[in-house]
Amino acid sequence: MPIQYYIYFCLALFSIGVVGVLTRRNAIIVFMCIELMLNAVNLLLVAFSKMYNGIALQNGASVTAGIDAQIFVFFIMVVAAAEVSIGLAIIVMMYRNTHSIDINFLNRLKN
C-alpha cells in the first residue's frame, strides 16, 4: 500500500484527536483523544519503519534496518500507559472533590 495512505489516515486520526481535545469538556473523552493522537503517531512510526525497511532490503541491507522506529512505538505505549494511570487517578480525585469531570470547571483554580 502506498505510504501516503498511511499519512493521510494518521493525519485524519491526529486531527480528530486535536479537535476532540479542543472541543470536548469531559476529561475522560479528552484523555481518549490524547490517546488517539499518540496512536496516530505510533501508526505513522510503524508505517515509515516498514517503508524504510523495504527500501533497505532492496538495496541489500540487513533485515533489521529501520526497525528501531518500532522500538520507539513500544516506548510510547509504555509512557502512554503510565500517563493514563496518573491521569485517571487525577480525574478520580477531581471527581471526588468537585463531583464533576468537566475540565473547564477547574479554571477556578486561577487567582
Binding site: 479542543l22 475540565i103 473547564n104
Partner: protein
C-alpha cells in the same frame, strides 16, 4: 642645545609655577606674597628670555625636543620648542611687557580681596605660560595648544568680575567668537596632516612640501589659517568681541587685548609666510580685510566716549594695519608694528588704567578733562603713547606704520591712500581722547575732583618704562634710506626671507612719508583745536549716530545670526525634541501598554484556548519552517517512492 633646553624650560615653567602657586594657595597667601611671587616669576622668565635671545643672536635658531606628543605610524607630533629670531623677539615682548603689567597690576588690583587677587594673578601667569607655548611651539599643534590656552585665559580674565552678568556675556562672546576662528585653524591643521602627514614647521615650511601641495591646497590651508587669525586678532567679521573684552580689568586689556594675545594671528601668519606667499588670493583677502578693519574700527573709535572702548577700537584698527602689512608681503614690517604697538598700546591702556584708578572707576571721557596737572606722569606718558600711535617721527609708531604703508604703496596705491586716511583718523581719535581727558576743565563731580591723585610708583614705573620703549623702539627698524640699518628685517631673514624690493625710489618714499606724516599731524592738531573747548555730547547727525552705535554691527549679528540660530534651536527644542522624539518614545511605550492590555485578555484560564493557540502556533511554525512549496515537494518525493 643642552643650555637651551634648560633655558626654555625655565622660560616656560616659571609662569606655570606662578599659576600653580597662586591658584592652589589662593586662600593661604597674603596679597604681598602673591604680588611678589607672580611678578617675580614673570621677571625670572624675562631674564631667561634675554639669555635665550642672546643665545639665538650668537648661535642661530635652536630646536629643543622634550617628548613625543603624538606618535603614530603616519603622524608624528613631537613636543618641540623652537627658539629662533622670530620667537625670541616675541619672547622678549611677552615676558617684558608682561612683567611690567604684572608690576602695574599689583597696585591696580589692590582693592581686591586676597583670594581674588590670587585668582587674578594665577590667570595672568597662566596666560603668559600659554602665550609662551604659542610662540615657542615648533609645530602647529603645539601652537594650537597655546592658542587655546590664551583663549581660555582671555575668557577667564574678561569675566574676572563674574558677579556682573554683562561681563560674563562679554567673556562668552569673546570665547565663542574665538572658537569660530579656532575651527578654521583646526581644519587647516587637519588639512596639513592629510596632505603632508606632518605639522612641524621644519617639514611644512619647505620648498619640498610646497611642491606636494596643489595651489588649491595652499589657498585653502592659508585661508583657513587666516580664519583662525581673524578670530584671535579681531578682524572683520570676527572683531566685535575685542571692544566688549574691555569688561576685564584694565591691565588685562593691556596685556592680552592689546600687546600679546591679539597679535598671535600675526605671529602665526608670519611664521607660515612661505605658504602665504604662494597664494595670491589669500594675500589679497588678507590685505583687503586688514585695511577694511583698520578703517572701520578707526571710524568707530572717533565717536566712542568710553576711554577703554576708544583704545579697543584703536587696537582693532592697528591690527588691521598689521594684516595689511602681511597681505602685501611686508612680514617684517608687520612684526615691527606688533612690537611697537605692544609698547605704545600697553602704555596707553595702562595710562587709561591710571586715569580710571584716579577717577574711581569713571571711564567716560566726557566726565574727565584737565587731568594734565593732577596726573603729571600719567599725562606725559600717555601723550608719548598718543604721539607714537599717531605716527609722528621719531617715535616708534612712525617707523613701523610707514614701513607697512610703503609696502602697501608698492602693491597698490589704493591701499596706501586708504592707509593714510586710516592713519589720519588714528591721529584724530587719539588726540580727541587725549585732549578730552587731559586738557580743558575738569568736568567730573567735585567729590571726584578732590580725590584725583597720581598713581603709586608700581603703576607709574611701568608707564615710564613703556613710554621710553614707545619713544625709542623705532630704532630697531630705521630704514636704510634714513641711513639706518633696519636691524629687525635683517634679523628676521631666516624666517621671512630677504626683504622684498619695493621698487620705489628714495625720493618717492620720502614724499610718501612726508604726506602721511603731515596729514597725521594736521589731523591731530585739528582734534586738539576742536576738543580743547568742548566735548562730544550725544551725537546728533545720522553719521555720528551710526558711528556711535558701531555701525550697528552687533545688532546686525544679533538679527542675522544669533536670532535665527535661537529660533532654529527653539524649533528643535519645541517641535523636534518635544513632539517628534518625545512622541516617538512615549508612543512606543503607550503602544506597548495598550496592546498588552488587549493581548492579556487571551490568558483567560480556559485550558482549551491555550491548546487551541498552541495548535495554531504549531501550524504557523510548520508554515514558516517548510513553506508551502517544500511541503509539496516533500509529499511529491514520497509519492515517487
Amino acid at each position: 642645545m643642552g643650555i637651551m633646553k634648560v633655558l626654555v624650560g625655565f622660560i616656560i615653567l616659571w609662569p606655570l609655577a606662578g599659576f600653580l602657586f597662586n591658584g592652589l594657595g589662593r586662600n593661604y597667601w597674603s596679597k604681598k606674597v602673591i604680588a611678589y611671587k607672580a611678578t617675580g616669576y614673570i621677571v625670572a622668565s624675562f631674564i631667561a628670555s634675554i639669555f635665550a635671545f642672546i643665545y639665538v643672536q650668537e648661535h642661530g635658531a635652536t630646536t629643543v625636543h622634550y617628548f613625543d606628543f603624538i606618535n603614530t605610524a603616519t603622524v608624528k607630533i613631537p613636543f618641540d620648542f623652537k627658539v629662533d629670531a622670530l620667537s625670541s623677539l616675541f619672547l622678549l615682548v611677552i615676558t617684558g611687557v608682561g612683567s611690567l603689567i604684572h608690576l602695574y597690576s599689583t597696585a591696580y588690583m589692590k582693592e581686591e580681596a586676597a583670594p581674588h587677587y590670587a585668582r587674578y594673578f594665577s590667570y595672568l601667569n597662566l596666560f603668559i605660560f600659554s602665550m609662551l607655548i604659542l610662540v615657542l611651539g615648533d609645530n602647529y599643534v603645539v601652537m594650537f595648544i597655546g592658542w587655546e590656552g590664551v583663549g581660555l585665559c582671555s575668557y577667564l580674565l574678561i569675566g574676572y568680575w563674574f558677579t556682573n552678568g554683562n561681563y560674563n556675556y562679554a567673556a562668552k562672546k569673546a570665547f565663542i567668537m574665538n572658537r569660530i576662528g579656532d575651527l578654521g585653524f583646526l581644519l587647516a591643521i587637519f588639512w596639513l596632516i592629510v596632505k603632508l602627514g606632518s605639522v612641524n614647521y621644519s617639514e611644512v615650511l619647505t620648498a619640498e612640501s610646497l611642491s606636494k601641495l596643489s595651489s588649491a591646497d595652499i589657498t585653502g590651508i592659508t585661508l583657513l589659517l587666516f580664519v583662525g587669525a581673524m578670530g584671535k586678532s579681531a578682524q572683520i567679521p570676527l572683531f566685535t568681541w575685542l571692544p566688549d573684552a574691555m569688561a576685564g580689568p584694565t591691565p588685562v586689556s593691556a596685556l592680552i587685548h592689546a600687546a600679546t594675545m591679539v597679535t598671535a594671528g600675526i605671529y602665526m601668519i608670519t611664521r607660515s609666510n612661505l605658504l602665504f606667499s604662494h597664494s595670491e588670493l589669500t594675500q589679497n583677502v588678507i590685505a583687503i580685510i586688514g585695511i577694511s578693519t583698520a578703517l572701520l574700527a578707526a571710524t568707530i573709535a572717533i565717536k566712542q566716549n568710553d576711554i577703554k572702548k576708544v583704545l579697543a577700537y584703536s587696537t582693532v584698527s592697528q591690527l588691521g594695519y598689521m594684516f595689511l602689512g602681511l597681505g602685501v608681503g611686508a612680514y617684517s614690517g608687520a612684526v615691527f608694528h606688533v612690537i611697537t604697538h605692544a609698547f605704545f598700546k600697553a602704555l596707553l591702556f595702562l595710562g587709561a588704567g591710571s586715569v580710571i584708578h584716579a577717577m574711581h572707576h569713571e571711564q567716560d571721557i566726557r566726565k574727565m578733562g584737565g587731568l594734565k596737572s593732577k596726573l603729571p606722569i600719567t599725562h606725559l606718558t600717555f601723550l608719548i603713547g598718543c604721539i607714537a600711535i599717531a605716527g609722528v617721527p621719531p617715535f616708534s609708531g612712525f617707523f613701523s606704520k610707514d614701513e607697512i604703508l610703503a609696502a602697501a604703496f608698492a602693491k597698490s596705491p589704493i591701499y596706501w591712500v586708504l592707509g593714510v586716511i586710516g592713519a589720519a583718523m588714528t591721529a584724530f581719535y587719539m588726540f580727541r581722547l587725549y585732549t578730552t581727558t587731559f586738557l580743558g576743565k575738569f568736568r567730573g563731580s567735585s567729590d571726584q575732583e578732590n580725590h584725583v591723585h597720581e598713581s603709586p610708583l608700581a603703576m607709574t614705573l611701568p608707564l615710564i618704562l613703556l613710554a621710553i620703549a614707545s619713544a625709542l623702539a623705532g630704532a630697531i627698524g630705521i630704514p636704510e634710506m634714513m641711513g639706518g640699518h633696519h636691524w629687525l628685517s635683517h634679523n628676521l631673514i631666516p624666517i621671512v626671507g630677504e626683504p622684498i624690493e619695493l621698487g620705489l625710489s628714495h625720493s618717492l618714499e620720502w614724499t610718501l612719508m612726508a604726506v602721511s606724516v603731515s596729514i597725521a599731524i594736521l589731523a591731530l592738531l585739528f582734534a586738539i583745536s576742536i576738543y580743547k573747548k568742548k566735548t562730544d555730547e550725544e551725537p546728533l547727525t545720522a553719521l555720528g549716530k551710526f558711528l556711535y552705535h558701531k555701525w550697528h554691527i552687533d545688532e546686525l549679528y544679533n538679527e542675522g545670526i544669533v536670532q535665527p540660530l535661537n529660533r532654529f534651536a527653539g524649533f528643535l527644542k519645541d517641535i523636534i525634541e518635544k513632539q517628534v522624539i518625545d512622541g516617538a518614545v512615549n508612543g512606543t511605550g503607550k503602544l506597548i501598554q495598550y496592546s498588552a492590555r488587549k493581548v492579556r485578555l487571551i490568558q483567560n484560564g480556559q485550558v482549551g484556548y491555550y491548546i487551541l493557540f498552541m495548535v495554531f502556533g504549531i501550524i504557523l511554525l510548520f508554515m514558516i519552517w517548510f513553506n508551502d512549496i517544500s511541503i509539496l515537494l516533500f509529499f511529491n518525493k514520497l509519492t515517487k517512492n
